[in-house]
């Protein structure tokens, strides 16, 4: 168990992750700013500032697209889970790239005027009464503000300060940011594009994000997920013993929508909430490792019998009572207080 006692700070995985991420950003920006001009067919080169606006803006859009693909990809293929592991750094770097775009715009289009920049931002484009030429910059500003809030609250301090459910809900704001960025691009850059390349990239990106979410949603519906139905007072039928893989789980949705993960380990069954105490990660998609439920997102661990993280960690999750009716697994839908011990239920005929 020693490995799990390492504080989750910087580790080799995160260093490699960030290195790959920064290499991709640098590859894109350098290709755009340094190599691209060699093949551009223009009378004179574009302003460096304008080229930088385009490079950082499109880079931020692509990064948001990719970061939104990570969640469903990891659902569809577990090999993508490592990409999810350090998603927060991905988000913060995306914000930095978007901010670089905004600073280049401010320092070029909104500079050299007698109006102060903030006033210029408000005064320069006020055509709210028309569709063609509707101001697109406010969408970009709004998206940048959302990303700023997400980046600023990405640290674990905010996670525990806000509590995981609130933090998770706040960070769903990334979808709002993406919608705003798509509008910003569609009403702005796409309107003045002289070739369809950017429009194709934007359309494919939106289709990719949407398609992956639909596919992951469909997988979740027909995957290891069951719906609970009451069969006797206080007990709900969930799944069968045989549907639960050894050291894995079946996720059960209670009528009130609460997801519960029913795990099988060493021939015994245990049920806990499906929501990880860290960032609400899907515990039921995790594995039992060293006798502990291990979250697929960042590897937080909980004991099967009481939902407590092994010392020195202190996280606790809610447990549930189980009983068997033949091969059927019955669940008491009332959660126990986090950390409550519930004796695992032996599966008849299973080797311990």
């Amino acid at each position: 168990m020693s490995a799990s006692h390492k504080p989750v700070g910087w580790n080799r995985t995160k260093v490699l992750y960030d290195a790959a991420l920064l290499a991709a950003v640098a590859g894109y920006i350098l290709a755009y700013l340094w190599v691209g001009p060699l093949i551009q067919r223009t009378s004179l080169p574009l302003d460096e500032q304008t080229l930088a606006m385009k490079a950082y803006g499109s880079c931020a859009f692509l990064m948001l697209t990719l970061v939104l693909c990570v969640g469903p990809l990891a659902r569809l293929d577990r090999r993508f889970l490592p990409v999810l592991y350090n998603r927060r750094h991905f988000g913060v770097i995306t914000f930095a790239v978007a901010a670089a775009h905004a600073l280049h715009v401010l320092g070029w289009y909104f500079a050299y005027s007698h109006l102060p920049q903030t006033e210029a931002l408000l005064a320069a484009d006020t055509s709210y009464g028309q569709l063609r030429g509707f101001p697109f910059i406010p969408f970009g500003i709004a998206a940048l503000l959302v990303l700023a809030v997400l980046a600023a609250t990405s640290h674990d301090f905010w996670l525990s300060f806000l509590t995981p459910p609130v933090w998770k809900a706040l960070h769903m704001g990334v979808y709002a940011a993406y919608a705003l960025v798509v509008m910003h691009t569609a009403l702005g850059a796409l309107q003045s594009a002289t070739n369809p390349a950017l429009a194709v990239v934007v359309a494919l990106s939106v289709a990719l994000v949407g398609g992956l979410h639909v596919a992951a949603g469909a997988r979740e519906r027909d995957g290891a997920v069951a719906r609970a139905a009451e069969v006797e007072p206080g007990w709900m039928a969930t799944t069968t013993v045989d549907a639960i893989p050894e050291d894995g789980a079946v996720v059960v949705h209670l009528p009130d929508g609460e997801p519960v993960a029913v795990f099988r380990h060493g021939g015994r069954l245990s049920a806990v909430t499906n929501l990880c105490a860290h960032q609400n990660g899907p515990l039921g998609e995790g594995r039992v490792v060293d006798g502990c439920i291990t979250c697929p997102w960042h590897g937080f661990q909980y004991r099967l019998e009481d939902g407590c993280a092994p010392p020195p960690f202190t996280e606790r999750i809610a447990t549930y009572r189980l009983k068997l009716d033949g091969r059927r697994v019955l669940l008491d839908p009332r959660p126990n207080a986090p950390g409550t011990r519930v004796e695992p239920v032996p599966v008849p005929g299973a080797a311990a």
């Binding site: 004179l44 005064a123 320069a124």
Partner: protein
């Protein structure tokens, strides 16, 4: 933690330094594909940028001093006398530094012979001077043509036209920014117009060989602020066109303007 368990089903645990078998290679391939793929995409998008045109500051000539007659309406223009190979008076549009026009009081400066110093911007036949300081009046009696009247030729009406094109700010269009057209550049163009830079119309077709017009309202005066709703869009405009020297002025009837 046993390697056996860690490797099972490729289950990845971020804080563990050991990756499940096969996953390391998968992630390496993924990283190489992503880094290579986005670099190629960056190159492709950059390679396909629009042609911003040939406008630029004439850095080679440096600061120049020109003498000519100043007119303030609709926007400040310095008229240079005809010269060999240039049968008509040549209108040089004037701007200040940055996104500012040249502040000129028509009551005292209209039609006067002045000297102006600054950097030239050029795009095709369009010339603009970014004037340093203010144009300085010179005694009218030493006008190069003996009097300003002949220099600023009477406007020649070229009829009423309906044209499709884009309203731009004259300075960015002449070469202060590349690119200087299109919706992305709209806020910048509007800030230039707010600052007093002359607006120009760049038409899809040409009149008398030119597709570039200095703009005015239908009475030949400065355009109202409302024109900013039309800037940087494909618009259809209607109005009288007249020639002054070698400049065409488009006196736009804004009530009939349409965004396409």
């Amino acid at each position: 933690m046993s390697a056996h368990q860690e490797g099972r089903d490729g289950f990845f645990i971020g804080w563990s330094d050991r990756l499940p078998r096969g996953l390391g290679r998968f992630l390496l391939v993924l990283a190489v594909l992503v880094v290579g793929g986005v670099s190629l995409l960056g190159l492709a998008l950059s390679g396909g940028v629009e042609d911003p045109g040939s406008g630029d500051f004439d850095w080679a000539a440096g600061e120049r001093t020109l003498q000519g007659v100043l007119t303030a309406q609709p926007y400040p223009v310095l008229w240079l006398p005809p010269a060999p190979g240039r049968p008509r008076a040549h209108g040089v549009l004037l701007s200040g530094n940055g996104k500012a026009g040249v502040p000129i009081d028509p009551a005292t400066m209209e039609g006067r012979l002045v000297e102006a110093t600054g950097l030239m911007l050029r795009r095709g036949t369009i010339e603009m001077m970014q004037v340093k300081g203010d144009p300085t009046p010179r005694d009218p009696t030493v006008a190069p043509d003996g009097g300003s009247g002949a220099l600023v030729a009477e406007p020649v009406p070229l009829g009423r036209w309906r044209m499709v094109g884009e309203i731009c700010d004259g300075k960015c269009y002449a070469g202060a920014m590349r690119p200087s057209t299109g919706l992305s550049h709209r806020a910048c163009a509007n800030l230039c117009l707010i600052g007093g830079i002359p607006p120009v119309f760049v038409s899809a077709g040409a009149i008398e060989g030119t597709s570039f017009f200095l703009m005015a309202d239908k009475d030949g005066r400065r355009l109202p602020d409302g024109v900013r709703d039309l800037v940087a869009l494909r618009v259809q405009l209607e109005g009288e066109v007249e020639r002054r020297g070698d400049l065409l002025v488009f006196k736009v009837d804004l009530d009939r303007a349409r965004v396409l």
